[in-house]
């Protein structure tokens, strides 16, 4: 299937985004407005081959840079978006700390759970978008007029392209952007907007503190997300939760175990609620209610597979699942519309 349009997390697709001017974006939106399940990425028959190649490149880069590129593919079907040269950009970004002036300045937004939304809508069709959450910043927000190569916007700005109904929401987007503008950091005018690449030695945290979040078995040095005989850590995010957790998939053997563990882990978060500044919502939800919700229609557990597709958890055998799962997300059921059919389609394609 097609590679993700937006890889905000940067856990695989370190491709450089191409920020075109707002107007061309909008025209493209219009063209794609009616498309729901279609791959409008422009890499038309975007097969898994493409996306895995992309993943391959970016996996390498990820280790170097963790570039969270918002990959905005704006090409029409049949055209390839230019600037697919992650190597040059990422490599040059790497040495940015050596440049004397003004290193990378990401246009960072200070929002929190909104980012969870980014992820969701970043991932393609089938999702009802989360624009309503209002954390979106269209390209026309003013910071994207530069066309620097490594113009990566973590902020939702790049993402709207992916969203169906985008055009109809353009206007409200602008408004909500203004409303939530306080949560978004505008790019400092005196610093060029730059890629949100990793800057050497920043933040100033000693390396032994780097991987504290991982729960770990005694003997393994945990390795972030890499499959291997040891632990297999993937990030778990949840709509409305202020931060991600990580789980070791190899410590479970069935979906039921995973589900129980996740329930415990996220039972404290109010589901789906988040304050405008990302303050954690009231932690009022009991475990059982969460379970009900999870098993009910409100929340579903989904995962991103190696191809970058979002699938419902539970469709494939457990071993296949942990072999291909890169990250997990507990998302609202409404956001997961369209996942199931695709999952089935995909496994048919595989078989």
């Amino acid at each position: 299937m097609s590679p993700p349009l937006l890889d905000v997390e940067g856990d695989g697709q370190g491709n450089v985004s191409l920020m075109t001017s707002a107007s061309s974006m909008e025209s493209i939106f219009q063209k794609n407005a009616g498309l729901t399940e279609r791959n409008y990425l422009g890499l038309s028959d975007c097969s898994s081959v493409d996306s895995s190649a992309v993943s391959g490149i970016s996996d390498v880069k990820r280790n170097n840079l963790n570039l969270k590129a918002t990959e905005l593919r704006l090409g029409l079907p049949g055209s390839q978006s230019p600037e697919r040269d992650p190597d040059a950009d990422l490599a040059s970004s790497e040495s940015l700390d050596e440049k004397p002036l003004f290193p990378l300045l990401p246009s960072k937004d200070g929002i929190c759970s909104g980012s969870q939304k980014i992820f969701v809508s970043g991932n393609k069709r089938g999702f009802s978008d989360t624009i309503d959450e209002g954390k979106w910043m269209f390209g026309s927000s003013g910071t994207d007029s530069d066309t620097s190569n490594v113009n990566v916007k973590i902020s939702p700005g790049a993402q709207p392209a992916m969203i169906k109904d985008a055009t109809s929401k353009v206007a409200p987007q602008e408004k909500t952007h203004a409303t939530f503008g306080t949560n978004l950091n505008k790019v400092n005018a005196s610093n060029p907007p730059a890629a949100k690449a990793q800057v050497v030695g920043w933040p100033p945290v000693r390396s032994f503190r780097k991987n504290i979040l991982a729960t770990n078995s005694k003997t393994n040095d945990e390795v972030d997300g890499k499959p291997g005989p040891g632990a297999l850590f993937v990030k778990v995010s949840m709509d409305g939760a202020p931060y991600l957790r990580k789980v070791d998939l190899r410590s479970y053997t069935t979906y039921q175990q995973l589900s129980s563990a996740l329930e415990k882990m996220f039972s404290c978060f109010t589901l789906g609620q988040c304050g405008s500044q990302g303050a954690p919502g009231r932690e009022s939800l009991s475990e059982s209610k969460l379970r009900d919700l999870l098993h009910g229609s409100e929340y579903v557990l989904t995962y991103e597979d190696k191809d970058g597709d979002w699938m419902l958890v539970g469709d494939v055998p457990w071993d296949m699942f942990i072999g291909s799962c890169k990250r997990l997300k507990i998302m609202k059921g409404s956001d997961a519309i369209g996942l199931a059919p695709r999952a089935m389609e995909k496994s048919k394609n595989r078989n």
């Binding site: 997390e9 940067g10 963790n66 969270k68 700390d97 050596e98 440049k99 004397p100 002036l101 003004f102 290193p103 990378l104 300045l105 990401p106 960072k108 937004d109 200070g110 929002i111 929190c112 759970s113 909104g114 980012s115 992820f119 973590i154 306080t182 949560n183 950091n185 505008k186 400092n188 005196s190 610093n191 990793q198 800057v199 050497v200 030695g201 920043w202 933040p203 100033p204 945290v205 000693r206 390396s207 032994f208 503190r209 780097k210 504290i212 979040l213 729960t215 770990n216 005694k218 003997t219 040095d221 202020p242 931060y243 991600l244 404290c268 500044q277 990302g278 303050a279 954690p280 932690e283």
Partner: protein
């Protein structure tokens, strides 16, 4: 007191203090700064001081040579030595930069064969050096290694095997090659003198049997910090042998069978009446945390920076810790957790909040300005703060400064470089302005966020007690650095990265650098020629430039490290370090 000048203007012999008495008196002075002052009074005092000194502190190993130290201080028993510039902790200094401890050990083996203590920070230490230390210094007692690199657990084996009188082995956060836990088994049965054992940062499993026996026979053990591999029931066994501990670092605080009875461990801490410091607590969950509650009432330092606690878990825990003075946390506790800090810990003097996932840019929360403000309201005695956050406002920092005017160390890291006040979009100048204006005792400051020269103007004008300043991604022009160099009389360490300060700024400090320990400037706008000028004008400074590639005469100097020295240029500089 010592000498009196009589009417003829001559020293009167009879009123001179006998040297022995003077030495006895001066021996009571511990602070090395005081001792430096003492030594400047007159020649007799200089001599008395140097003969009575037992501990020498060398803040920059290249500022002086081992031979000079040995010549001046004949009776040293304890040495503290610091090597690499602090930014080496963040990978800004290449390996093999230097700071090798071996030349020091070689000199000390003849000058101080009775050396007892060695504390190293950011030094390069090899296994051979550790073996040398263990075998050549027969009375050696205490070794502390912090942020060092170049050695492996084999070196620890040598220490454990040969140091018959070892009282302290403190291994913290080093770039150590962990080849296994066998080193611990090398302590002989005859070793009973251990008082401090810290191997919390080592990954490999040690033999629990060996550890338990060691702990059981060392009756004076007061500090024990184990690594993550030690389980809860193993910890319980250890504690039964050493209830006298004052500082404990636990292992993992989770059992695999979560449904196991907590009651088993309920009494684990009930005998530990002297515990004032608690750390470790890896993987702590609300299920097992209550085990430590009995010990909390007397705790003054709680290090939770390895425990991914949430706000409610922290709040429950802190309600038992009313006497805390120092608290280290992960930002997983969130602002709500910090509210609990503010309400439970009125005696708090030090707070450090570390980012749980600092390099993961999709995590957009953690703690914010509101958590910091909450703490400041409840903890007016705060003097040391290290705070990593992703958003901050000028108004919040101003409030914090008003609430806590006694700050001596204020280290604020807004993790996104150059990020402005997220509400007003303005630079964070006023925030740090408020700090330096209000907190007159400020000694150490680390700034971040979007900052113009105005910040530095404030610092230069108001921060009269400032000794250490860390700057990154800040400033608009040379003026910034100039303000600081002109205004901060007591400045000793200045470290700057990625700022637009150039040659004029560098050279504006020409007359100042000799009164400072060191200056670091990387990714700024300084050229080789300016560095050469500085080196030429100030022969008592070492001006070192780290080069990535060959450049022309006036090429950029990417990393500049300037420090005062009486030892002349380094003789062990690697090829990429150019001393001008």
């Amino acid at each position: 007191m010592v000498d009196r000048v009589d009417s003829a203007g001559e020293w009167t012999q009879s009123s001179r203090f006998p040297d022995e008495v003077l030495e006895r008196v001066l021996a009571l002075i511990d602070s090395h700064k005081d001792r430096s002052s003492v030594s400047l009074v007159c020649k007799d005092w200089y001599n008395a001081e140097r003969w009575s000194r037992r501990h020498v502190f060398i803040g920059n190993c290249y500022s002086v040579s081992p031979e000079i130290v040995a010549a001046r201080f004949p009776r040293i028993r304890s040495v503290t030595l610091k090597g690499k510039p602090r930014f080496s902790d963040f990978n800004l200094v290449p390996e093999d930069w230097g700071a090798d401890v071996q030349p020091w050990l070689s000199a000390f083996s003849t000058a101080y064969p009775f050396l007892e203590e060695l504390r190293l920070k950011r030094m390069a230490v090899s296994d051979e050096s550790l073996e040398f230390l263990a075998t050549k210094f027969h009375g050696f007692k205490a070794l502390s290694l912090l942020s060092c690199d170049g050695f492996s657990t084999d070196g620890l084996k040598a220490i454990a095997t040969h140091c018959k009188k070892l009282t302290e082995l403190d291994i913290q956060e080093n770039g150590i090659d962990d080849l296994g836990g066998h080193w611990l088994s090398c302590f002989p049965e005859s070793l009973t003198s251990l008082e401090i054992l810290n191997f919390a940062s080592l990954n490999s499993e040690v033999s629990f049997d060996a550890l338990e026996k060691l702990v059981a026979r060392c009756k004076s053990l007061r500090v024990l910090k184990v690594n993550r591999n030690i389980s809860l029931d193993q910890l319980q066994k250890l504690l039964s042998h050493c209830p006298q501990l004052t500082e404990l670092g636990t292992g993992t605080f989770m059992q695999e069978l979560i449904s196991g009875p907590v009651a088993e461990f309920k009494n684990m801490f009930s005998n530990c009446r002297n515990l004032i410091t608690l750390s470790g607590l890896w993987d702590a969950t609300p299920f097992y945390l209550p085990v430590i509650y009995p010990a909390c009432a007397s705790l003054t330092f709680l290090n939770l920076s390895y425990a991914t606690l949430r706000s409610d878990e922290l709040a429950n825990l802190l309600s038992h810790c009313k006497t805390l003075r120092r608290l280290w946390l992960l930002d997983t506790v969130g602002d709500k957790g910090l509210e609990a800090v503010g309400s439970c810990c009125p005696l708090l003097e030090e707070l450090r909040v570390f980012p749980a996932d600092p390099f993961d840019q999709e995590i957009l929360l953690g703690v914010t300005e509101s958590g910091f403000v909450s703490v400041s309201r409840g903890c007016p005695k705060l003097r040391y703060v290290l705070y990593f956050c992703r958003q901050m406002t000028n108004a919040a920092v101003a409030t914090i400064a008003r609430n806590c005017p006694d700050f001596t160390h204020f280290r604020l890291c807004i993790m996104n470089p150059g990020q402005p006040d997220y509400l007003t979009k303005e630079p964070m100048d006023e925030a740090f302005g408020a700090i330096v204006k209000t907190c007159t005792k400020l000694q150490r400051l680390a700034i971040s966020g979007l900052l113009t020269d105005r910040t530095f103007e404030y610092i230069g004008k108001y921060a009269k007690n400032l000794e250490t300043l860390s700057v990154a991604f800040a400033g608009s022009s040379d003026l910034g650095m100039e303000y600081v160099l002109q205004g901060c009389q007591k400045l000793r360490k200045l470290e700057i990265r990625d700022c637009p300060f150039g040659n004029a700024a560098l050279l504006s400090g020409l007359t100042k650098y000799e009164s400072m320990r060191s200056l670091w400037m990387s990714a700024c706008n300084v050229t080789m020629n300016a560095c050469r000028v500085l080196a030429k004008e100030r022969p008592r400074l070492n001006v070192e430039v780290m080069r990535d590639e060959e450049g022309g005469d006036d090429s950029q100097a990417h990393k500049v490290y300037v420090y005062r020295t009486v030892a002349g240029p380094r003789r062990d500089a690697p090829p990429f370090v150019l001393t001008l």
